[in-house]
């Protein structure tokens, strides 16, 4: 018999909110972060997409991340640390500094062998890798150009690179840095894993943490996703841009990002983000008087085996993933009150996802697309969406799909933020590669 698993803490850093509270408030107010891409990126190519979702200003010092750490960690790991710290605080698990120099903390009743870390990331470390490659490649060029007495001042904006080859680059670019840093910082010595399944990473990481606790491998976990995609040259953006996945109708930043709308033209690239949840075995959570936000009933994964770059139009494996998740949760499609979709705003995803939801769930459940507010944070997206799904259950309200005027299918899209009786919810993510993942969450009742 599987053990029951509950969410007791949530931390979020998203383009539209530097904390979970700010993120929640801005989502309800339909506030998103959409700006023109950095001007110097135009030095390198002529992008099809011209908008992105930058992160808000974050006071790192005030949130415990000093200069030394910022020079030695990729931003994806820093965002993960911020989200994890907030998640622990919201779970009423205070952390105490145990080693000032190494920045180690202990969390009473949480640190140790019975706690796990499962973090998802798509390409965690990529921005640091790009920066260091810039130094590696361009520094000798600069030296030679100077020797040739070629004026390089007019090339300086193109040849931008950090002054130093970062001695910490290996640990900065390892995708497992996010999960490793959470284990190190909070003295968590149980299973520590990185899930690297592109846009499904965050959902899958939470699913695997759920499975570990349900099976008894661990009693608690930090689980979620983190991503940071803004390399100084716009190369990551260019990759998605060249693949024609990004929003193309960029004339009006406010309305450009419109998942599930007939006018959609691609996804809004996000600078980065992270969400981390505290998951605990139920009796343990209740025993310490933890604030229970929602219960995780099930997780499921399937794989398309179709194309590394596009979703299978038949949605056969998505439907199998949904069926498995519902079956594991012992929930019928009719019991699902709310679905937080993958909802990227690409032509193909939204068409196939909407059609599949209609076929499996009908038109009753509320349908939401959090990416209409955050843009696409890749490996963090599923975790951010699980976080807002849990909060929507706990608070009996949810945000609306921004910019949805002409829905692609006649589903019950949330068009106005407000009160909704959400008891059971489903959140799903699909990914480049062909990964599909979903979680069933429910209002907690003893």
């Amino acid at each position: 018999m599987k053990r029951r698993v509950v969410i007791t803490g949530i931390g979020v850093v998203a383009p539209n909110g530097a904390t979970a509270a700010e993120f929640w408030k801005n989502c309800l107010a339909l506030k998103s972060s959409v700006e023109p891409i950095p001007g110097h990126w135009f030095n390198y190519w002529r992008p099809l997409s011209r908008l992105w979702a930058p992160l808000p200003s974050i006071d790192f010092e005030a949130r415990g991340i000093g200069r030394v750490e910022r020079m030695q960690l990729d931003n994806s790991a820093i965002l993960a640390i911020l989200a994890a710290g907030e998640a622990l605080e919201s779970a009423r698990l205070p952390f105490i500094l145990s080693d000032e120099k190494k920045k180690l903390f202990s969390v009473a009743g949480f640190s140790g062998d019975r706690t796990a870390v499962f973090m998802g990331t798509g390409i965690g470390g990529i921005a640091s890798f790009a920066a260091n490659e810039g130094n590696h490649i361009l520094s000798p060029c600069s030296v030679r150009l100077r020797q040739l007495d070629v004026p390089i001042d007019n090339l300086a904006d193109v040849m931008r690179a950090p002054n130093r080859f970062n001695p910490f680059i290996v640990s900065m670019t390892m995708p497992n840095s996010c999960s490793a840093m959470l284990g190190i910082r909070f003295s968590i010595t149980g299973p520590n894993q990185t899930v690297c399944t592109a846009c499904a990473s965050g959902t899958m990481a939470i699913g695997q943490a759920f499975e570990a606790i349900a099976a008894g491998t661990a009693d608690a976990a930090l689980a979620g996703g983190a991503e940071y995609l803004a390399d100084d040259y716009g190369g990551v953006f260019r990759g998605f841009d060249t693949a024609k996945t990004l929003v193309k109708n960029c004339d009006d930043p406010e309305t450009a990002n419109c998942p599930f709308d007939r006018k959609r033209s691609g996804f809004l690239f996000a600078e980065g983000g992270s969400a981390v949840l505290v998951l605990e075995e139920l009796s343990r959570a209740l025993g310490r008087g933890a604030p229970v936000i929602a219960e995780v009933l099930s997780s499921a994964e399937t794989f398309d085996a179709h194309s590394v770059m596009s979703i299978d139009p038949s949605a056969k494996q998505i439907r199998r993933m949904i069926a498995r998740a519902l079956d594991e949760a012992n929930v019928t499609p009719g019991e699902i009150d709310y679905i937080n979709t993958h909802g990227t705003a690409t032509e193909q995803n939204d068409e196939i996802e909407a059609r599949t939801i209609e076929a499996v769930f009908g038109t009753r459940p509320l349908i939401n697309a959090t990416k209409s507010l955050t843009g696409h944070t890749i490996g963090a997206a599923g975790a951010i969406e699980t976080a807002i799904t849990a909060l929507s259950i706990a608070r009996k309200t949810t945000h609306a799909c921004k910019n949805l005027e002409e829905p692609v299918r006649p589903l019950n899209f949330v068009t106005t933020a407000g009160a909704f009786d959400i008891k059971t919810a489903f959140t799903q993510s699909f990914a480049f590669g062909g990964h599909n993942a979903g979680l069933v969450l429910r209002e907690f009742t003893a």
């Binding site: 200069r67 030394v68 020079m71 000032e100 130093r164 910490f168």
Partner: protein, 90 residues
């Protein structure tokens, strides 16, 4: 080093960086303090210290130069010489 060193702004900023990276108390940092033996820097700390000094003073420190640093006074003397060189255009 001249005893008036404590009034030197470069000395004071360098002490602050050492305290920031190595988490030692300012009163324990003197020109004679050996970076490894007295201030407790291991190899990773030494790299962190160099990066933070570069960031603080906007002055690159090559690995070959860094190898010559034994005491805190060596670090201050190097940075002071570079800053003087910058001001005088040497």
């Amino acid at each position: 080093m001249d005893p008036s060193y404590q009034q030197d702004p470069i000395f004071a900023k360098t002490v602050a960086v050492v305290c920031e990276v190595l988490k030692v108390k300012p009163e324990t940092v003197t020109p004679q303090s050996r970076i490894k033996e007295d201030l407790g820097a291991d190899s990773l700390d030494t790299v962190s210290l160099l990066m933070t000094l570069e960031d603080e003073f906007k002055e690159p420190i090559s690995d070959d130069t860094a190898k010559t640093f034994v005491t805190f006074g060596d670090v201050v003397a190097y940075i002071s010489s570079r800053k003087t060189a910058t001001v005088t255009g040497v």
